[in-house]
Amino acid sequence: MPVETWLIFILGFMIIGSIIALELKDLLSAVISIGIVGLGVSLAFLFLQALDLAIVQFLFEIFALIILIRAFIGKEYHIQEPSRSHIVQTVITIGALLLILLLSINMFKALPGFGHPIFSTAKHYVENGGLETGSANIVSAIILDYRAYDTLGEVTVLFTAILGALTILRTKKSNGLAGGDHETN
């Protein structure tokens, strides 16, 4: 089967999976459905020949599942009844989003077709990457050599986000030493 057919199958699977995850009442089942959607993304990356991304996405999935389950585990959870105004709001939102989808079809027709990329910036990397950096993997050559400052910025952003999370979770008892998630308030 051609790659496009596989991708259509995987994307349909992911759309159904995310709708189910959003509509389920049980939060644990919803988080697990999102995990399945993420593994679908990983599989799609494999079909698109992006091996590094598939591995990173797989790891991301596992960590995100652990973090999200940590968010609501052991907490009392009440299911709220849907009110009339909420139903009206949902219907209006779905209508507006369908309209956006219909209007966007023309935009996707104007793009270069699937399987025919523009490929202008990357030409230099592909032709000279092996000689200039000595790395066989062009993706890691770009990350760690051509665009190393991007990676430095990425690490800074990640550090700041983790620092923010620890600051939010810090309680007064821990005295700023261990910023872990102490639930004792």
Binding site: I34, V37, A50, H86, T160
Partner: protein, 112 residues
């Protein structure tokens, strides 16, 4: 083109969840779905018909490879997404400690 439209539909499902759900965890999940759709869309733009992965092999046979630049950028994006998810979860845990609920319509007193 069908692939692009399906990917955009996935993004719209994420927007739908973020707009209509009242549960904080569901809103975080919707943001995650939107992130998946954007990452996948950019990698879809990079795919070349019949090309193979962007790794050089011995004797230089692998001259036909997919566009490696979007892959490098998305690798960065995925890792940052994990940091964002962790921070959102930390915020929601904190809100739960204060208000004893995940329902955003009941979280009204945004002071102190």
């Amino acid at each position: 083109m069908t692939v692009y439209i399906l990917c955009f539909t996935l993004f719209l499902v994420g927007i739908y969840g973020a707009l209509t759900k009242r549960d904080l965890i569901k809103i975080i999940l919707s943001l995650g779905i939107m992130g998946y759709a954007v990452n996948l869309m950019i990698i879809l733009f990079a795919y070349k018909e019949g090309a193979s992965f962007a790794i050089l092999v011995r004797d230089g046979i692998n001259s036909n490879m997919v566009d490696p630049l979007p892959q490098a950028l998305i690798l960065t994006s995925i890792v940052i997404e994990l940091g964002i998810t962790a921070m959102l979860v930390a915020l929601s845990i904190r809100l739960f400690q204060k208000y004893k609920t995940f329902d955003i319509t009941k979280i009204r007193r945004l002071s102190g």
